[in-house]
Symmetry: C2
Subunit: 433 residues, 2 copies
């Protein structure tokens, strides 16, 4: 294919699901994309480990780059599309080299950006190019553009996100079927919704990468992944989900970041949200992000958070912006203006809590626990006692009244030490969104 | 206030709720707006009927324009913010004059744009300026930017919107309380949620203006308000809402536009949607827009659809884009590329329907109606008979199976002619979103 002098020329590094999705959109929708971008977007060069593999898409008119660095430095391209993954090594070098050579970079790589986003955005500014990453957070949902531009008139107070489709699928299926975590995880793995090593998803790492990027954009601060405390969903049982439901709540793995007074808070943890709330209705593999701004108030976006089509849709949206000559700053303002803040974790939040205790099924146990909580100044809002197990244990579910989470959390550690408490308690925060 | 040479200078025409909201945001968030825009946004001149009225905001540092046209032509401003309303006369002249003088225009005026959007966008292109209108559709929800940019990689298949907060508030309240339309409308008027003359909202005109703008953007076509058939919510009764709920549905006033095969369809009407669907959960004065794109699939955004803060948030977002030097085309591509299409209405859609008949409470009536429907090839999916009224009438609720709406609609006209049918039937489409 002869290269057109005024087209926007790209090189794609990585031809897995996402890279192939980008090729498919650019081929299938080329006319409407050209109309919207004001010129055509042209794939000039590609790179992937295996050149011979059949990827179900015609790659015959594109040049294969010799290696990633030569692709990044190819003088024929305006933009590098990075679809490889990984937060260091050759991928980092490739992205950095492209930016240093004045090429725009579009990526879905949340891990890379959570770690190097600020330094990369500085390099982009020095070289008059852009670093865009709509696809890195919540797949097809244009939440990066929404925070960076659509809500830019607002001081953002908070962002809540369901940011990992695998976790949301597991929690939703547990709620719908009453089955336990391990069982549903195994099914999700069999169906290909979860990886063979599911840790990255279910321990919250993937969602955490996305959360720190949202926090950076929302508040105009440097993302700080290392400052984030992360809890995944491994410890959530069918009992918890059932008890929460009885009490009018749904358990969701939430990324939460808030700017309250002069405190910046970020936390990634399973929380109870009211079952009637919009965010509780977001089921299966869907993602959602709810924002609160001082003038716009609450808005929420939801959609597919992963997969070939949605992720590639976001990458190509970034490419269209760049082809139009629109090159926004990675975090919505110059990197020099981004504040470096001290992050607090969920201990600073005031909230009611859900406490699940497995105790000896004996007279006096309930009195012992409630009086200990009372001594510790934890007020009980409601209490459920669940059945009597064959092993001589019983389950107590307590909803505490609003208190600093730090206080509730420390009190629960003290209750955990009681002889009548048989297992590690489950303590979850309630977010009355 | 001394004018800064590199600030983005605006004039605001109209200081009602929205205009005052814009002033408040620009004052209160001026530092963060300047950081995001890369320069400050400065109000230079303002115009409103009454200069002496206390609007609860300090206007003392702004010049008052002598009249709207002199504001539009003021050589000191880069952009006109139109917050007056009305689709013709001096408002039209003012906007046109600003564009002809190469000034960007930002407006929340959906009626003006539904009528003159295409001709204005041509004038904007000829004069290298922009016409932006995020605030015109769904208040604080950045759905214009989302369709124009965030989802720009996709061929859009359909857009569904809850686009009028007053109607959604009325329908939600009817569902929650079981009260009838007139009663809830009166309350909404007393509370200030509905106008003294509510026709613009409840007859669907306001939502219809918004829908045609969404259709234009989604499909790259010229909006055509005159081709849109509009049904409002006046005829929806408490009985309908209750029966729909029993059957697992919620009634929403929906703006719907679809591009199926080579047909373009737009319709604004109350429909039944499954109660579990995301769009059914959007309550009270909230707005929501659900889109379906060929790669991104379904996404939905929801938020406040009106009010000072949300509407002004969208206007200022447009101003920030412009201050950055980003001037997108009004309908996402040059006006010359917008297709002029022939619009179809809901008759072209295939759908199940909800039919509510008030009939004589006599033996044989049910058989007469069902056999007539059967003769007309309308298959019944389910049927409810509701109580016996004191006046000797009974209510029959029928859910029909999927058929072209035109066929079902014509059949119902025939049933309407039966002696046993006492009142005009209510026929609503079911959208299985």
């Amino acid at each position: 294919m002869a290269s057109s002098p005024d087209s926007f020329k790209i090189g794609i590094a990585g031809l897995g699901t996402v890279g192939v999705g980008v090729v498919k959109i650019l081929q299938q929708n080329q006319d409407l994309i050209a109309a919207r971008a004001g010129r055509s977007i042209e794939i000039v060069t590609i790179a992937a480990k295996d050149q011979s593999k059949d990827r179900g898409v015609d790659l015959s008119t594109y040049e294969w780059a010799d290696d990633l660095l030569s692709l990044a430095q190819n003088t024929d391209i305006d933009c590098l599309v990075e679809c490889i993954g990984g937060d260091d090594g050759i991928v980092k070098e490739t992205v950095q080299s492209a930016l240093e050579n004045g090429k725009d970079v579009v990526t879905a790589n949340k891990a890379l950006l959570a770690k190097h986003g600020v330094s990369f955005s500085k390099i982009a500014e020095e070289n008059n190019c852009a670093l865009l990453y709509e696809a890195a957070v919540a797949g097809g949902i244009p939440i990066i553009k929404t925070l960076r531009e659509g809500l830019a008139a607002n001081e953002i107070n908070s962002v809540f996100g369901i940011l990992n489709g695998t976790c949301n699928y597991i929690l939703t299926t547990m709620e719908k079927t009453g089955r336990d975590f391990d069982d549903v995880l195994k099914e999700a793995q069999d169906l290909g919704y979860a990886e063979a090593d599911p840790s990255f998803d279910i321990d919250g790492i993937d969602a955490a990468h996305k959360l720190v990027l949202l926090a950076g954009l929302a508040f105009g601060v440097e993302p700080d992944f290392d400052a984030l405390e992360i809890s995944g969903i491994r410890s959530i049982t069918a009992h918890d989900i059932k008890a929460a439901k009885e009490l009018g709540y749904t358990i969701k793995l939430l990324g939460i970041t808030k700017h309250i007074n002069d405190q910046y808070i970020q936390t990634l943890e399973p929380c109870l949200v009211p079952s009637y709330s919009a965010i509780a209705q977001v089921d299966d593999a869907y993602n959602a992000v709810m924002t609160d701004g001082d003038f716009v108030e609450q808005t929420m976006m939801q959609g597919k958070g992963a997969g070939e089509g949605p992720t590639a849709s976001s990458i190509v949206a970034d490419l269209i912006d760049l082809a139009k000559g629109y090159k926004p700053h990675a975090f919505g303002q110059t990197s020099a203006k981004l504040k470096k803040v001290e992050w607090q974790n969920n201990e600073e939040l005031e909230c009611p809590c859900y406490l699940h205790l497995v105790v000896k099924d004996e007279p006096g146990v309930l009195a012992e626990i409630t009086s200990r909580l009372s001594e510790l100044n934890i007020s009980i809002d409601s209490l459920l006692q669940h059945g009597h197990e064959e092993d001589g244990s019983a389950r107590i579910i307590i909803m505490t009244q609003t208190a600093p989470f730090k206080t509730t959390s420390e009190s629960v550690k003290s209750v955990e030490g009681l002889d009548c408490v048989l297992d590690k308690p489950t303590l979850l925060r309630i977010e009355e969104v």
